[in-house]
């Protein structure tokens, strides 16, 4: 019996420890799964080179990360949210409502989005946004300009130069930041290029309604939303030779033995072509930082500065080696961090 009460006391002591043990000595990061590899590469190098503990990096998606970021200030909240898109106004408001007002936005570089298929599959060599729009849109204008359900079932119906196989595309699910870029830079672009946007506007829709109509994708199983990671997209393209998958550039570069990439508007996606602005489907990557935490969490300032240092994020650094397109204006970002400039 004595041992039983002893154990109870230990348990009580354990639970009371909570109050004393919250002093956190490592940086906590969460957010975009696209930024996750870069953040963990930096976290690891930070642990190698500094006396601070290696930061903890979680993934979960840009939206989930920003939601946790905006939960408030303090040691029980994350310090940095990674995002593959800019923070939205709605999220800023949620942040402000919880007292997270001084946010520093740090752009770490650019990420290319590539279209790749199985290496031994049909010859998907060159795409344009119009082709993707005509392949995946839910409704297309017919000759008379009336919107009809998408009649295309094979790529060759869209362009004889494309392989004569069934349309099957694995695109990022809506929880991914990548989806937003895909819709904006490919589908919406294609909608405008094909003149469908004009036709829609002529039918009396306002601008937002035109965008919505352009971006509504077919639901007959030819456009498959992938809610998991690129590894899932890879598995799907491996199991179906006709499938075309949407990947991040860095993921493709790690799997060139299994995937072949298609050009977009005739431009091959490489870090160079994206940095030069030639490859059209690219987007900036960010992390957001709570200014109030800079002094409270040891190593946070050093980590953020280290992240965008020339050694890491510059050309030839480990992040560029892994597939990040270095930001030509990195010096500006470094200045933002140095001055602690918060978002307006």
């Amino acid at each position: 019996m004595g041992s039983m009460t002893g154990r109870g006391a230990v348990l009580a002591a354990l639970l009371c420890w909570a109050g004393a043990a919250v002093a956190r000595d490592q940086v906590q990061i969460a957010g975009s799964s696209t930024v996750l590899p870069y953040a963990s590469i930096v976290a690891e190098a930070f642990g190698d080179n500094y006396d601070f503990p290696t930061p903890v990096v979680e993934s979960g998606g840009s939206s989930a990360g920003l939601k946790r970021f905006c939960e408030g200030l303090g040691e029980n909240t994350i310090d940095i949210a990674n995002a593959s898109r800019a923070i939205r106004d709605r999220e800023r408001e949620a942040c402000a409502a919880n007292g997270v007002t001084d946010i520093i936005e740090v752009r770490i570089g650019y990420d290319g989005i590539v279209f790749a298929s199985q290496r031994d599959g049909p010859e998907f060599a060159d795409f344009t946004p119009s082709q993707w729009y005509r392949a995946l849109a839910a409704r297309l204008p017919d000759e008379g300009g009336a919107m009809v359900p998408n009649p295309n079932t094979r790529w060759s119906q869209i362009d004889p130069a494309l392989p004569d196989v069934e349309i099957l595309a694995f695109i990022p699910g809506t929880k991914h930041g990548t989806r937003e870029v895909f819709e904006e830079k490919v589908i919406l672009q294609g909608c405008e290029d094909t003149g469908a946007a004009e036709a829609l506007a002529a039918s009396g829709l306002d601008e937002d309604a035109v965008e919505d109509a352009c971006m509504s994708l077919r639901t007959d199983g030819r456009a498959v939303d992938i809610d998991g990671d690129y590894t899932e997209t890879l598995a799907r393209t491996e199991s179906d030779p006709n499938g075309v998958g949407v990947f991040g550039l860095s993921f493709y570069e790690n799997n060139t033995a299994r995937l072949k990439v298609a050009t977009m508007d005739g431009v091959v996606p490489t870090t160079a072509s994206i940095a030069a602005g030639d490859y059209p489907v690219a987007r900036p990557l960010f992390f957001y930082l709570k200014k109030a935490h800079l002094d409270a969490i040891p190593g946070l300032k050093e980590f953020a500065t280290f992240f965008v240092s020339d050694d890491l994020a510059g050309p030839g650094g480990p992040l560029a080696d892994y597939g990040l397109v270095p930001d030509p204006d990195l010096a500006e970002t470094q200045a933002v961090l140095l001055d602690g400039t918060v978002m307006p």
Binding site: R7, A21, Q26, A43, N49, V56, S59, T231
Partner: protein, 447 residues
């Protein structure tokens, strides 16, 4: 019964040795039934074999690792610009300055071995793991006197080179791969022939922390195994006493009324609640309300305790029920109090069943990922947690979480790591289940 009776009615007409149509049909039905059963069993076995074979085929190679032995000249001018050999001053030299040293060392080692290689500096860099650069820096900072000497070091080969000696990378795939060239593979083979490169057992896989996406060759399970052990300790320390106390009360002391019925139904229901729900609860109560730290084994352990409690309570109650009433009656008849009869007689006899149930509950908790997702344990963690009890509050991951993380990484080398981690997890589960079987066989008493 009816079939048999009707059959008997005609027994006189046929021979005992020649079965009539009805008997033949019944026998055929029985044969079919046995075949269905056999089929069901073999489907299960085939599924298990396919699973195990694919895991072993993918993961067994994670336990072997390729290393290269090179002589590194520790150039004093670059590593210790101040010339004081003061570790604090030398700490300003980052790993980026150490990488060229390893490359130069590799080039010199290749030249010394008389190997002709047509590879440039970058290709040499790519053959060595970044982890080794960090290790070299730590080693030099710990032994500043080494600066200026040429020291032999055993460095990890990069993931692609390692994959070549495990059959994952071939000359044909290297042609297509942007991260490795056939020349590098040829050089690696030459190095092996010169006995500078070897593949040995990979202890680091069990002890090292996770590696980032560029260092699959350095990624290990150290933090994940520690995190899992910490959580299991917490679950054991909390769920066993609470579960046993609750079961004893419910089984031996509580009156049979509407309230105990409600509690009983709820315990059975809790056992069937999806584990992610416990994760949501953990986030809301332990992190947001109680202010416990994120990504910490204490929160994981508490969440898994909640999840395991119903399993333990149900197993314990079954074990208590299995103790014959005559034992209680005899104890009470000899003047023992109710509590004495339970603690001195019933509980010891029920102990094997309780322990078996507890271990099975723990094994279930060990393999759980979903609730950990919400409390921040599905993360990249490289720092080992401290020793308990402080370590319970440090960030850590867990074995199933590490598997989940690795399957999401871009580099194909992580598929092998994930397979290896699955093998480790399965071995842990096997060990726990064997313990449970052993306890049951050794101590169980039947009446």
């Amino acid at each position: 019964m009816t079939d048999a009776t009707r059959g008997n009615g005609r027994a006189g007409q046929g021979s005992l040795l020649v079965s009539d149509a009805r008997t033949a049909r019944r026998n055929a039905a029985e044969r079919r039934f046995r075949i269905y059963g056999l089929l069901a069993v073999s489907i299960g076995i085939v599924a298990l074999v396919v699973l195990l074979v694919s895991i072993l085929a993918n993961g067994a190679s994670a336990f072997r690792q390729t290393t290269i032995r090179i002589d590194v000249p520790l150039d004093a001018a670059r590593l210790d610009p101040s010339g004081t050999r003061d570790p604090a001053a030398m700490a300003g030299v980052t790993t980026f300055r150490y990488a060229p040293l390893l490359r130069e060392g590799l080039a010199a080692t290749i030249a010394a071995a008389g190997i002709e290689a047509e590879v440039d500096d970058r290709a040499l860099d790519e053959m060595i793991s970044d982890e080794s650069v960090a290790q070299l820096r730590r080693h030099v900072l710990a032994n500043p006197d080494l600066v200026g000497q040429t020291v032999p070091v055993e460095v990890l080969a990069s993931g692609r080179i390692d994959g070549f000696f495990k059959g994952r990378v071939t000359y044909a795939s290297a042609e297509l791969d942007s991260n490795v060239t056939p020349e590098q593979l040829r050089l690696a083979e030459e190095l092996r022939n010169a006995e500078l490169l070897r593949t040995g057992f990979n202890w680091r896989f069990l002890t090292a922390p996770d590696g980032s996406d560029t260092r699959p060759e350095a990624a290990g399970l150290g933090v994940a195994i520690l995190g899992s052990i910490y959580m299991m300790l917490i679950v054991l320390a909390l769920a066993l006493p609470i579960g046993v106390a609750a079961s004893i009360y419910l089984e031996e002391f509580a009156p049979q009324n509407r309230w105990t019925d409600v509690i009983e139904v709820n315990i059975s229901n809790l056992a069937a609640v999806p584990s992610i729900v416990f994760g949501i609860l953990g986030l809301a109560i332990f992190i947001n309300f109680m202010g416990l730290p994120q990504s910490a084994p204490i929160v994981g352990g508490l969440v898994l305790t909640l999840m395991t409690l119903p399993t333990i309570i149900i197993a314990t109650r079954a074990a208590l029920k299995a103790v014959p009433p005559s034992i209680r009656d005899a104890a009470l008849g000899l003047g023992a109090s109710k509590m004495q009869s339970v603690l001195h007689h019933v509980l010891p006899l029920a102990m094997p069943g309780i322990l078996t149930g507890t271990i099975i509950g723990l094994a279930q908790a060990l393999g759980e990922t979903a609730p950990l997702l919400l409390i921040g344990m599905v993360a990249f963690v490289r720092e080992y947690p401290d020793a308990p009890p402080d370590g319970f509050f440090d960030p850590a991951t867990a074995l199933p979480v590490q598997i989940y993380n690795w399957t999401q990484r871009a580099d194909p080398a992580f598929v092998e790591r994930a397979g290896g981690a699955i093998i480790v997890l399965l071995l842990f589960l096997l060990a726990m289940n064997l313990t449970a079987i052993f306890l049951r066989r050794r101590f169980e008493r039947r009446w």
